[in-house]
Structures are given as C-alpha cells and as structure tokens.
C-alpha cells in the first residue's frame, strides 16, 4: 500500500506571495485530501487514498491544477497567472522527496541559471537520474559527493553505504532512503484550526468602505477554503476592524469595532456574503483609518450541497442566475434596514388589529430556519401538520358571516372618522350596508391597565365594537366600527370621544 503512494508538490512561493494572509495560503489543498504537508519550500499532497473519490488521476490532476491556478491568481485580479496556465508547475512522485525533487528540476529549467543535467529528456526522470541538488540533504555535501564522482541520486546509492555514512553522516542517507520509499517519512500534516479566526494586518490605512471591503477579500477567500476543507457552511460571521488612532476630534475611539452578518441559509459561496458585507460597510461611518481586519466565523453547520436534478433546468429557472428567497430578503434588509421587509404571522385573537403581526422578515427567516427544516422532515415522515393546514385553507366561501366580512386591506391604526348628522364621514357620507356585527374582546389586556387609562376612556386592550360595512362613491366599501358607549360615559354624561373608526377597505 505504501509503495502506491502518489505525491504532488507545488512551489510555496507562488502561493504565499499571492496571499497576504500566509497561514491560510495552503488551505485550499485540504479540500482534496487530508494528507497535506509543508516540506521545505513546497506544498505536498498525498493522493493515493482519494483518487477514486475525485474520479481518477487525470480528473484529480485537472482539478488540482485549476485550484492551484485559482489560489495563485487570487491575489492579483489582473491576468497575472499566464505562466501558470501555460504549464502547470508541479512535481509528482512516489515519495515526498521525489515529488519535491522533480518540482525543483522543473522550476530550474525555464530560467536556466542552475546547471541542468545532460540527459533528462522526459519530464519526470527516473529517481536514479535526479541530480544531487534536488535533495537538500545531499546538496549540503555536494562538494564531497562531486569529488567522489557522483552526479545523481543513483550514483550516491551505488556507493558503499558504511563508508559513505562515515563521510557525510547517517542523516543524509536516511533522507535518501526516505526518498526511495525504504523508510517512512515523518511529516507534520497541515491542520485546520478548529475555529475560524483570522487576522490580517493591512500594512496601509484603509479610509473608506470600498478599501476595507477590498482588504477583506483575502480573509473571505480564506474562509471559503476553510469551509470547503472542513465541509462546513457558514451561517454567521463577524468582521472586526482595528483603528490605530485612539482619539479623533477629542472623542475616544474604540480600538476595535465589529460587524456581524447573518444569513438564513448556510452557504459556502462568498458572493452573497460579500454583497451583504458591502451593504453593511457602506452604511458605516469611517471616522478613522483601519489598519487591521479580523474575520471570525460565528456559526457554521455541516454542509449539505444542493441536490442536483437529472433533468435539464428549465429556461430562466437555473439557480445560478437568479436569487434565492432569503438572498432577496437579506439584500433588501441590508440596504434599508430590517424593518423595510416585513412578513406576517397570524395570531390567535378576535380583535382584527391583533390577528396578525407584521415583523421584519430577515430575523424571522434566520430564526425559523431550523424549525422549518424540522417541519419539513416531519411532513415527510408522517403528515401530521399538513392536514391541519389544508383544513384551514380549504374554506374560501366560509359560512361564518363574521369571517366573510373580513376586508383584504387593514389600516395599521383605526382611523377616527368625523360624524355629521349622526352619520360617519370619510371623503363624503358613508352609507351602512351590512351590520352591526358585535365584537367584545380583549378584557384580559384591559384588566391590567384599566386604572392607568381611566381618564382617557380608551383602554388599550378592551374592544367593544359594532362593525359595519359602509359604502360611498369615493372610498368604495369600507369596514368601519363604532365604539360602544361605555357605562361610565352614560352615567357621567361626559362627552364621549370619537366613536366611529375606519379599520379596513374592500376596494
């Protein structure tokens, strides 16, 4: 099993110079295989275990090449990676040292400054033909070995081992054995942190939202590769920024300020989060320049990828070019505040103004998400909640006259109507068409604050009303009610407050 190992090496310099956050530069590789290590100046990956998962060697190499090119280009948005796309810069081999040696050989070839061995026509020479300098353990003793007539690894191996060990030390020979796969090679594997928390020192002051957003790009990319490697998806993240200035215009400035962003559906893609971040950052006041950023994943869940359909997507229905519902809600909420997008929740009450509650949609979606998922699984397993819903929805032509009189529009506050000649007026006199329908409800709310509101005569909760459908030519059919005169008004002969109110509209 160990002999079938397949190692791939990439130069670390390409990666680290493109990424301003060095510790995250190699995380992209962990998406493909857990056996990733840093060895000297290269990134090494062992793929024998995962080749079948990714569909064979060729398919895996193609994906790795594109991922590596993406990771290299990520730093520069211009067309910088031409040379990478031209020829994938990587070395392969049966052991880590071999892959590294072949990578070094390949790296040395285009520039030509290092003396190239005479006969290596094929791209991956046999291990015996690899030159001495490609193995750093041998390169230290290259002067000695060259005087002994050694040019490549094979020459060194053919020498008597005991004498060579006395000359150059056992350490170099052990490295050679590791390179040939005779000894196991201890490596400390690259591991992801348990919690994503990454700090990025900008090195320049960022004065406004666009600059901060631009500076946050590498952090978001690091988060994406962290999520992909852990097979998680993010629900909430926090961006913190640091001010170098301690006070400005005589005001104390907090050292760190933070912005938390939530989404309703866990995601690995950064496009939606980035858009939310832009909207939120655009609303911040940037009083002082920012010199450090820190990104933190507050909440992540295991990633369940979208199930793909076997059927071709209908026109205009493909998920890539259109928004999901939560994305639309969150985008509008981010731009205009959460109170701008409302969704309704029905409440159990008899007073029309308390039968529903319109509340901000984004927190509702985010809080309801686990419950909704649970409800979906429930509905799939045993259809317990469904019949109830259909039963309630199945009564369009209801027999109850009270329910039949509900209007489709409800005024947010009942509007007091002027009265002329004993008739309520709303853009003209109203003609009562149907009613009265008596409603008396809400005493449980009135009991608490009746004493407080005694002088105003209108307790907040108690509703004692007669509802009518009224009509006039301007407003059409409207839903109005009359506050029933309460006993203390009758007894005290006080002037009762406005008694006619409009509450709904039929159109």
């Amino acid at each position: 099993m160990g002999s079938a190992e397949h190692w791939i090496a990439w130069p670390l310099a390409c990666l680290s110079e493109s990424s301003p956050v060095p510790e995250s530069a190699c995380w992209w590789a962990l998406e493909f295989s857990p056996r990733v290590a840093l060895l000297e100046d290269a990134l090494l990956m062992e793929t024998s275990m995962v080749q079948r998962l990714w569909g064979g060697t060729e398919a895996l190499l193609a994906r790795l090449d594109s991922a590596f090119a993406q990771a290299c280009q990520a730093g520069f948005h211009e067309s910088e990676g031409g040379d990478v796309a031209l020829q994938p810069l990587r070395g392969q081999g049966g052991t880590a040292w071999k892959a590294l040696a072949r990578l070094r050989l390949q790296q040395s070839r285009p520039c030509g400054s290092v003396p190239v061995p005479l006969s290596v026509p094929e791209s991956s020479p046999h291990a015996d033909a690899l030159p001495l300098w490609t193995l750093s353990a041998l390169e230290q003793h290259s002067a000695v070995l060259q005087r002994l007539g050694c040019r490549c690894w094979g020459d060194v191996r053919s020498l008597p081992r005991a004498g060579l060990s006395r000359r150059i030390g056992a350490k170099a020979l052990r490295a050679l054995d590791e390179a040939y796969g005779l000894l196991p090679q201890p490596l400390d594997w690259l591991q992801l942190p348990q919690q994503f928390e990454l700090r990025h020192d900008l090195g320049y002051p960022a004065h406004h939202a666009d600059a901060v957003l631009h500076a946050a790009q590498p952090l978001l990319r690091a988060l994406q590769s962290w999520l992909q490697a852990r097979h998680h998806a993010v629900l909430a993240l926090q961006l913190r920024w640091h001010h170098d200035l301690r006070r400005i215009d005589g005001q104390e400035l907090p050292a760190w300020e933070a912005l938390a962003i939530r989404t309703a559906q866990p995601t690995q893609g950064m496009a939606h989060l980035q858009r939310l971040l832009r909207e939120h950052l655009g609303q911040q006041r940037w009083r002082a320049p920012v010199d450090m950023l820190e990104l933190q994943a507050l909440e992540t869940v295991p990633w369940a990828a979208e199930p793909l359909s076997c059927l071709p997507a209908a026109q205009g229905q493909s998920p890539s070019d259109s928004l999901a519902w939560h994305e639309w809600v969150e985008r509008l909420s981010a731009r205009w505040g959460e109170e701008a997008v409302l969704m309704v929740q029905p409440l159990a009450d008899h007073r029309p103004e308390r039968m529903q509650r319109w509340q901000a949609a984004a927190p509702l979606l985010q809080s309801k998400n686990p419950a909704a998922a649970r409800g979906a699984t429930l509905a799939g397993a045993g259809a317990q909640p469904r019949p109830q819903g259909t039963h309630r929805g199945r009564q369009p032509g209801c027999a109850d006259p009270w329910q039949a009189l509900w209007p489709p529009w409800l005024l947010s506050q009942p509007e007091a109507l002027p009265v002329q000649g004993n008739r309520p007026q709303w853009h003209g006199p109203l003609q009562l068409k149907a009613g009265p329908y008596r409603l008396e409800s809400g005493w449980w709310d009135a009991a608490g604050d009746a004493s407080a509101n005694a002088q105003t005569g209108a307790p907040a909760g108690l509703a004692a009303r007669d509802y009518f459908v009224a009509y006039n030519a301007v407003v059409g059919h409207v839903w109005i009610y009359r506050e029933r005169v309460r006993s203390e008004h009758l007894m005290g002969m006080t002037a009762s407050p406005a008694s006619w109110f409009a509450q709904g509209m039929y159109g």
Partner: protein, 307 residues
C-alpha cells in the same frame, strides 16, 4: 351546395380558442380584419418567432403563461384569456380607490393553489408587495386561499427608483410567484427594465398607479384603467368597477368592461341585509297603513319580498 356549406362550417372551427362573444364582436366591429384569417395563409401561421405575435392570434395562444383572472367578462377581453404571466401590467385607479384585491384575488388564489399543487415545498412561491398603501389583512387573504406565509411586504418610504430596484430584484428571485407594486410615476427606462425583467423571468408584475389625466406611452404589455361605477342602475344591484383597456396585445377595445365583483364572499351577507331592510320597511309601511291582521304577517312577508 353541399361543399359550400362544409367550407362554411370549417372556417369558424379553425379558431378553437375564440369564445362566442368575441367572435361576434370580431365579426361586427373589425370587418377589415377578416381578410387576414389564419386559415387563408397557413404558411404564415407556421412561422413561430418568440416575441413576435400576429394581431389576429391574440385570443388563440392559450398555451402561454397566463393567469386566468377569474372574472369572465375580463378574461374574454384579455389576450390569451387572462393576465399575462410574464409581463408588466400597469393598472391605474383613482385616488382613494383600492380595488386591488377585489380584482386580483381570484387570479392570485388560483396561482397559489396551482403552485402549491405542483410543488411540495411550502416555502416557495412568495407574493411580494412593494410599497402597499395599507397592510394586507392576512386572515382574510388566508380565508381566500392565499397562505399568510407567502406574503411579504416591502415598506414604502423610499424613492421610486429604489422601490423599482426592489421590484426588479424580486422578479429575479426564483422563489417569487408574483410581484405587486404601488409606485408613483416612473421614467420609461425604468418601466422598460421592469417589463424586460418580468418577461425574461416569467413572472407577472402588477403595477398600481394613480390615474393620469393625459395618456402617455408605456412599455407595459397590458394597461388598464379602473373606475368605480357610481350610479347604481336598476339592473345592477351592487356597485362595481368599470375597466378600460388602454393597451393590450390585440385590437383596440373602445367599450369599457363592467365588473360587478359579485363573487366576494360577503356579497350574500349584503344581499341578505338588503332584503331584511326591504322587508322591514315593507312591514313598517303596512303597519302604518293599519292593514295588518294578527295572523297574516308570518305568511305574508315572504310573499311580499318575492313580489
């Protein structure tokens, strides 16, 4: 003789989608159109270009994305027999008139029902209301067949351009069933953007605006003007709506459409109330005339109301 009658019979049969009233109207009003029957030019009807339609076919293509409006009088004047499901529909109504739900509720309820039947996921298929004049009363809409979970309102208080952007984004959202918007005057470029978004995404957008005095052009596929019928004629008991089609993808319609809106759930309640009032006044009149006997009223009053 025999062949003549056969050809006469086959020609009307070539237009299966036409209803009786439309055929009469087409025969009477647009005599000039007769020369361009599809049966005369079969090669022309074979040409199908998306976005290009023939003026004579405006009632035929029922296969398109159409939301039947639920009002029979309106359906037979709308191209395709209902609201276009992939277009901007501009509706003008006078101030203080809010006939939105009365007009759209049957279509929306049918659309929601159809969507719920075709898809199991209850979270899809949202109805987005952009800047509604009041908040909808969810229990009433739920009783009419629109689930409260499907409703979403964008609060007014932004500029018209911002709200139009919200409309466009909602049209691009794949979980949205339909968009209703209440926006003030919009520039033609914005209207065109909205029409393009609605057409490309296959979702209807009903845009409600206040009536304008002078007609101006608009890229909307369908434009209607609503007016309230104030005079209650003897034949028409309930006051209703008068709809004038300003623009449609079809011939010009000069007569306005009368909608009685009698399918409201509370219409029977109103009628019962009116009958009760009439009976009471009759009884009062009889009482005043002193012609009432002790045994008569129980049997007399239903007869009186029916007469």
């Amino acid at each position: 003789m025999h062949t003549q009658s056969q050809t006469y019979l086959t020609r009307p049969g070539s237009q299966p989608g036409m209803t009786e009233s439309v055929r009469q109207e087409a025969g009477a009003g647009q005599g000039a159109r007769r020369g361009l029957q599809a049966a005369d030019h079969p090669h022309l009807s074979a040409i199908q270009i998306p976005g290009v339609w023939r003026g004579t076919d405006w009632q035929l293509d029922a296969c398109r994305n159409v939301w039947p409006s639920g009002h029979a009088a309106l359906d037979c004047e709308l191209p395709g027999g209902g609201w276009p499901g992939n277009a901007l529909i501009q509706l003008q109504q006078p101030a203080h008139c809010h006939a939105e739900w009365a007009l759209l509720l049957p279509a929306l309820a049918a659309g929601v029902r159809q969507h719920a039947a075709s898809r199991e996921d209850t979270r899809m298929g949202q109805l987005v209301l952009v800047a509604p004049p009041y908040l909808p009363f969810a229990p009433a809409l739920q009783a009419a067949g629109i689930d409260a979970k499907r409703l979403c309102a964008v609060q007014p208080g932004r500029s018209a351009q911002d709200l139009a952007w919200a409309c466009e984004q909602a049209l691009h959202c794949r979980d949205v069933l339909a968009v209703l918007a209440w926006l003030p005057e919009l520039p033609t470029s914005t209207l065109r953007r909205l029409q393009l978004a609605a057409a490309s995404q296959g979702r209807p957008l009903w845009l409600w605006q206040e009536s304008q005095a002078e007609p101006c052009s608009s890229p909307a596929a369908l434009r209607l003007r609503l007016e309230r019928v104030t005079t209650v004629s003897a034949a028409q008991q309930a006051p209703g709506l008068q709809i004038q089609i300003l623009k449609r993808r079809g011939p010009l319609l000069e007569r306005p459409i009368q909608l009685s809106l009698s399918q409201w759930a509370w219409q029977p309640v109103l009628q019962a109330q009116a009958q009760r009032h009439a009976r009471q006044s009759e009884e009062a009149a009889m009482l005043m005339q002193g012609r009432m006997t002790a045994a008569a009223p129980a049997t007399a009053s239903p007869w009186m109301t029916e007469a």
